[in-house]
């Protein structure tokens, strides 16, 4: 039931190639992660849309194998 942090990062970067991704394993159990994703692709999108893009990147794993992924999204500052 666990997923590796690098695997999550890889999946997010595959969907959002310009993204800066930081993954924290919150509980040390490979099951509760926090992801901070910074990407220009989020520009002009609502928070819900931004998070949906991240969820889409980790595909069906969110809510299933990946029990908890806390997401923070941001657009890069110029």
């Amino acid at each position: 039931m666990a997923m590796d942090a690098h695997e999550i990062e890889r999946m997010i970067k595959a969907a959002l190639p310009d993204a800066a991704v930081e993954i924290k394993d919150l509980a040390g159990d490979g099951d509760h992660y926090a992801a901070t994703v910074v990407s220009a692709a989020f520009k002009g999108k609502t928070r819900v849309q931004q998070h949906q893009m991240v969820y889409a990147a980790v595909q069906g794993n969110m809510g299933g194998v990946l029990h908890a992924l806390a997401v923070r999204t941001a657009v890069p500052q110029d």
Partner: protein, 111 residues
Amino acid sequence: MSDVNARIDAEVKNNDVVLFMKGTPQFPMCGFSGQVAQILGYIGVPYKGVNVLEDQEIREGIKAYSNWPTIPQLYVKGEFVGGCDITREMFQAGELQALFEEKGIAVKQAS
């Protein structure tokens, strides 16, 4: 529209503020649901809590309805606002209070 979708749609459209959650506003059964309930309580906005643990159909159906994989889910005036992370971020930035004001929903506490 399937049966469950129509039921969810009716909840979302007939109530100004709806929180699909695990447990009830008084007794949340999940930390994330509890956090959102606490924020809404703090702001002092009346809302309807829908306990997904009591209805397996809604528990699964709500995820498809919003294309959002997790619960809680907060809806304001028929619009999906977000889950726990987004609601908390918006609250901390004062955006949630502004959203209620913009949508004409009275809150007890001045923001």
